[in-house]
C-alpha cells in the first residue's frame, strides 16, 4: 500500500505530526502523530510519542500510546511501550508490548483484511500461553481420580486384595513425584 506521506529513514522530526493523510514513518519522530488516514511505523522507525490513525501498523518502535479508529496491528518486529486501543487489535508472535491492550468500539471501515490477519496471528500466541497452565492443574485431578478408582473398580472384578494395595501406592508415589516436578 502506498502512503501519501513518508518520513524517510534519515529524517528526524522533533515536534508533532498531524493531518488528513496516510503516513509511513521510516525515520524518527520525537512527538505525537495524529492523522485520519492509515499509519505505518516501519521496522527501523522510532516514535517517541503517541500514534493515532485509522489503521496503524507497528513494525518499529513506539514509546507512547497507539490508537486506531479502525485497527492496530503490531508486527513481529514491532515494539510498543504504551497502551494499545482500537476496535481490532492484532499482535504477531515476537512483538514486544508493554502496556494495556483494549479492543473497543466498532471499526470505521472495511476491515476484512485486518480480521484475516488477526486470526492467525492471535491464535498461535494464545495457544502456547494456555498449554503450560492447564498441565500441572490437570495432573493433580487425574492422580486423585486414579487413586480411588482402582479400589472401587478392582474388587468387583478381581477378588484378591493384592491388586488393591499396590494400586494406591503407585498412585500416591506418582502424585508426589508429579507434585514435586
Amino acid at each position: 500500500m502506498a502512503y501519501a506521506s513518508v518520513i524517510a529513514g534519515s529524517a528526524v522530526i522533533r515536534g508533532n505530526v498531524r493531518g488528513d493523510t496516510s503516513l509511513e514513518v521510516q525515520g524518527r519522530v520525537e512527538g505525537d502523530i495524529g492523522v485520519s488516514g492509515d499509519v505505518s511505523i516501519a521496522p527501523d522507525a522510532v516514535v517517541l510519542g503517541s500514534v493515532s490513525g485509522a489503521r496503524v501498523i507497528v513494525g518499529g518502535s513506539v514509546e507512547g500510546d497507539v490508537t486506531g479508529s479502525d485497527a492496530v496491528l503490531v508486527e513481529d518486529s514491532g515494539r510498543v511501550v504504551g497502551d494499545l486501543s482500537a476496535p481490532r487489535i492484532g499482535v504477531s508472535e515476537g512483538a514486544h508490548i508493554q502496556g494495556n491492550v483494549r479492543t473497543s468500539g466498532t471499526p470505521s471501515s472495511s476491515s476484512s483484511r485486518v480480521s484475516a490477519h488477526r486470526a492467525p496471528e492471535a491464535r498461535p500466541a494464545a495457544v502456547p500461553a494456555e498449554r503450560p497452565a492447564p498441565r500441572p492443574v490437570a495432573v493433580a485431578p487425574v492422580a486423585l481420580a486414579a487413586v480411588p478408582s482402582p479400589p472401587k473398580s478392582v474388587p468387583p472384578k478381581k477378588a484378591p486384595p493384592p491388586p488393591v494395595i499396590p494400586a494406591p501406592r503407585p498412585g500416591v508415589r506418582a502424585r508426589k513425584k508429579l507434585a514435586r516436578r
Partner: protein, 104 residues
C-alpha cells in the same frame, strides 16, 4: 522518489532534519534541514527556516532560506524571507520579498 514526502493534508510542526530529499505538498512549520534537495509543491506551505542543498519553491515559503547549491522560485511560487545561496532564479510570475546574499 526516495526521501520524505509531506503529503497534502499533513502538518508537521517542529524541527525536521534529514539526509534525504524532502518534498512538501502539505505544511511544515518550524525548521527544515536536509543535506539534499527541498521541493515545495504548488500546494505546499512552509513556515520555517530552510537549510538544504537546493530549494525549489512552487508553493509558499515564509522564512529564511540557505542553500549550498541553489534556490529556484517557480512561477506561482511565493517566498517571504532572506535567501543565502550561490545561485538564485526567480521565474516570471513568482513572488519574492526579502534580501539576497550570494556571497556564501
Amino acid at each position: 522518489m526516495a526521501g520524505s514526502v509531506v503529503g497534502a493534508g499533513l502538518i508537521i510542526e517542529g524541527e525536521f532534519t534529514s539526509e534525504e530529499p524532502v518534498l512538501v505538498d502539505g505544511t511544515v512549520k518550524g525548521t527544515l534541514t536536509t543535506s539534499e534537495a527541498v521541493s515545495i509543491g504548488a500546494d505546499g506551505v512552509v513556515e520555517a527556516d530552510v537549510q538544504a542543498l537546493s530549494v525549489s519553491i512552487a508553493g509558499q515559503l515564509t522564512g529564511n532560506v540557505s542553500a549550498n547549491s541553489r534556490v529556484d522560485i517557480q512561477a506561482g511560487g511565493r517566498l517571504v524571507g532572506d535567501v543565502k545561496a550561490n545561485r538564485l532564479t526567480i521565474a516570471d510570475g513568482a513572488s519574492f520579498r526579502g534580501n539576497v546574499d550570494m556571497d556564501v
